[in-house]
Symmetry: C2
C-alpha cells in the first residue's frame, strides 16, 4: 500500500461501525455473543451503556405462559441481563440441550437482533438470531460437516396452470453432476407464510440430507422445494413487485397449488436426471404444506409412494375443490398402496385435534399409516426432526 | 378448522410478535417502513414510545464528515425522526435518486435494523436494511423483473492445491438446462471480508445478468463466484467450524488463491457446458478480488481474454509470490493480447493512488487498457455499476 492508503485505512479502522458508506472491511468483533461455554451454558452479551433493561428471549429458555381470554398460551421465556461497569450487559443460561435455537434481545422494551451475531433467519416477518448447540446424533445432522456436499439451487419453473414462472429451490445430492445416474425425488412443501426458501433456510434441508446421505442413512435423492402460495411467483424480494414485506394475507385460491402440482413434476423430470415413477417419488409438507400433501396425494394417487404429513393443517370438508369426494379419493389413494403414509405432530400443536380426527377417519376405513407424536408445538424444531426421520424411510424398497 | 383450533389460532393472533416459539404464521405488519412516496421521497417509521431519540442513517442521506487525526473522513448522514402521539417516530427524506441504498436506525445511540423491513444484507459483520428506488436504466437492472431467469446455485469444488472442498456460487443463464449449448464463463471475485455469497447477495449478480441477457445487452454466460479467502472453505456458517462470526483477520497466505485458481477452472469446465478457451473466459474482481484478478491474469496469460479490475487493491512489489518477475509476467500477458483490460475505480476510493500508479506503469510500457473513473468511494454501489458495464463488453468478438 502507499503511505496515503495506509493512513486512510487506519483512519477507517478508527471509525469501524460508523463507516457503512465504505465496504465494511475493517470491522473487528469486540463483544462475543453468544458464547457457548464448555458446559454448554451460553453467555449472551449486549453493549448498551444507556439502557435501563436488557433481556434475552428465545426457545432455549424455559417457557413462560401468558393468560388470554382463551386460556394460557406458551411463549418464549426471558432472561434478564446484568449491566457491567463497561456498559456491557450479560447473562448466562443453564447448560443447554443440543438444538438449533433462535433468540432476540429486548432492550428497554424493544425487540432487536443480537448485533454481534450475524447468523439470523427470517420466519415470515420475524427475524431471529441462531444459536446452535451440538452433541446429539439427530441435532448434529443440522450442522455443516466435512462430508461430500450436494448442490442447492434457486431455479424457476413454468406453471401453465398457474400462468406464471415460479421460483423453486432444488437440492441435488453430492456426486449428481458427475455420476450420470438417475435419482429419486422428494417434494418438500412449506407452511403458511413460508416460501421456497423456508425448507432450505429454516429447515436446514441441505445440511440434513448431506449428513444423512454421507452416513448411508438416507438414499441419495433430489429434493424439490417449491413456493406453495399459488398466488405468488417467488419469495418476497424475488418478484417484480420488489421489496414488498412478507405477509400471510395472500390471495391464494384453495386447491390451485395442489391441482397445478403436475406442472412442477413435469419440469423436474425434464430438468433433472430423475427416476420418474411412483416408486421413486415422495411428497411431504408441514402445516399448510401438510394439507397440500394430503390433497395432492389423494388427487394424484399414482404420483408418489411416500407421503409425509408434518403438523398438517388437514381440513376435512372445506370448500377446497380437492375436498370434493374425499372418501372416494382416499379409497383410490390407499388402493394404490403407498409404501409409507406417515403422520407426525407435536403434542402441544394446535392442529393436534384435527390430526386426531383424521387418524380416526383412517382407522375407521382401515387404511394403513404410521403416526408419530413428538414433544412441542407448531415449530421448526419439530419439522427438522420430522425431515430427519422421514427422509431415512424413503426409497429403501426394491 | 375445528372450533378448538380456531380459538387457539385467534389466541395466537392476539399474541403476534411475542409467540416466537410458534411458527410466525400470524404476523401482520402494522407499521410501514420504509414507505416510498410518489415523489420518490421515503418515509421511515419506528415504534418506540419510550425512546429519547431515533435517527435513521444510510447512504441515501447527504454524507457527513468526521474529523480524525488523519483528516476529515466521509460517513453516512443521519436524519432525526420525530415522535408522534402514538409513539411511532417518523421522518421523510428529500426525493431520492434511483439506487439500491442501505440504512439502519439509531435508537438512543444504539444502531439497529428496521424491524418492519425484512430485507437486509450482511457485509462482513454489518447488517443493514435495503431500500430500492427504481427509475434509472442501470439501477433498474438490479431489480427482479418478469424476464427469463437463470439458475443460481451453491456448489462445492475440490481444490487439490488448497487441500479442501470449497463452496462456490454459480449462475447459469436462462435456458441453460434445455439448450444443450456451451457457454462462456465470467469468473467474478469478491473483496476482503467477503465470501462466495458476496456477489450474488450484495452484488445482485443474478438480477443484473438476467436483465442484461433478456434485453440482449449481455451475452448468455455462466458466472462463477468462488470464495477468495484461500484459508476458508466457505462463508461463515457453512463450514464445520459452525456459526463462527465473520472476520477480516483470516490467515490467508498471499498468492495461494491465485495459484490454486486452475483447480476452479478445471472443475467449472468439467461440471458445466462451457466454451473452455481463452476467447470465452473473463475474470474480474473487486478490491482484494481486483488484486486476485491482476495476479491471476498475469500468472495465467492464456486463461481469459477479458480482464476487469474493480477498485483493485493492486500492490506492486509485495511479497506475494505472484509479484515475482511482475514486469516479465505483464509483458507475457499483454503479448497474449487480451481482448479487454478494464480498470474502474471511484474518485473518492482510498485505492485511487495505487490505481493511478498502476495505470502509469501500463502507460509507460505502452500496454492497452481502458480506464473508467466514477463518483464515490470503495462501495458496493460502484461494484454493481462496474458489473453492469463490464458484463456488456464480454464475448462480443467473433
Amino acid at each position: 500500500m502507499t503511505r496515503k492508503a495506509l493512513i486512510l485505512t487506519a483512519a477507517a479502522a478508527l471509525l469501524a461501525g460508523t463507516v457503512s458508506a465504505q465496504q465494511a472491511i475493517w470491522g473487528v468483533q469486540t463483544i462475543k455473543s453468544p458464547e457457548i461455554n464448555s458446559d454448554k451454558s451460553v453467555t449472551f452479551r449486549f453493549s448498551a451503556p444507556e439502557a435501563k433493561s436488557v433481556e434475552v428471549t428465545g426457545d432455549m429458555l424455559p417457557r413462560d405462559t401468558v393468560d388470554t381470554p382463551y386460556g394460557k398460551f406458551p411463549v418464549d421465556g426471558k432472561l434478564a441481563l446484568t449491566k457491567g461497569d463497561d456498559g456491557v450487559w450479560s447473562a448466562t443460561t443453564s447448560p443447554l440441550a443440543p438444538e438449533l435455537y433462535t433468540y432476540n434481545f429486548i432492550v428497554d422494551g424493544l425487540r432487536m437482533p443480537d448485533p454481534n451475531n450475524v447468523f439470523q433467519q427470517r420466519d415470515v416477518i420475524s427475524i431471529t438470531n441462531l444459536l446452535y448447540i451440538d452433541g446429539d446424533p439427530m441435532i448434529d445432522t443440522y450442522g455443516q460437516h466435512d462430508v461430500a456436499h450436494g448442490t442447492l439451487r434457486s431455479a424457476w419453473y413454468p406453471s401453465e396452470k398457474l400462468g406464471m414462472n415460479r421460483r423453486v429451490t432444488v437440492y441435488t445430492p453430492a456426486g449428481y453432476e458427475a455420476s450420470g445416474k438417475n435419482y429419486p425425488v422428494l417434494y418438500l412443501l412449506h407452511g403458511m407464510g413460508g416460501d421456497e426458501t423456508a425448507w432450505s433456510e429454516l429447515g436446514r434441508t441441505a445440511q440434513i440430507m448431506d449428513n444423512l446421505i454421507a452416513a448411508g442413512k438416507a438414499e441419495p435423492m433430489i429434493v424439490v422445494m417449491p413456493n406453495g402460495n399459488s398466488s405468488q411467483q417467488a419469495a418476497p424480494g424475488f418478484t417484480s413487485a420488489g421489496f414488498v414485506q412478507p405477509t400471510t394475507q395472500l390471495p391464494n385460491v384453495p386447491g390451485d397449488f395442489e391441482l397445478a402440482f403436475p406442472d412442477l413434476v413435469k419440469w423436474t423430470d425434464a430438468t433433472f436426471r430423475t427416476l420418474p415413477d411412483k416408486k421413486h417419488r415422495a411428497i411431504a409438507g408441514l402445516s399448510m404444506g401438510g394439507m397440500h400433501t394430503y390433497n395432492i396425494s389423494k388427487e394424484f394417487p399414482d404420483l408418489a409412494d411416500y407421503i409425509g404429513l408434518f403438523s398438517a393443517a388437514i381440513r376435512i370438508g372445506t370448500d377446497n375443490p380437492c375436498e370434493q369426494n374425499t372418501d372416494e379419493k382416499l379409497a383410490a389413494l390407499f388402493a394404490a398402496k403407498p409404501a409409507l403414509y406417515w403422520i407426525a405432530i407435536g403434542n402441544e400443536d394446535f392442529l393436534l385435534p384435527q390430526n386426531k380426527e383424521y387418524t380416526a377417519k383412517l382407522d375407521a376405513a382401515g387404511y394403513p399409516y404410521e403416526y408419530v407424536e413428538t414433544e412441542g408445538g407448531h415449530i421448526w424444531r419439530n419439522w427438522r426432526h420430522y425431515l430427519h426421520d422421514f427422509s431415512q424411510r424413503l426409497f429403501k424398497q426394491e
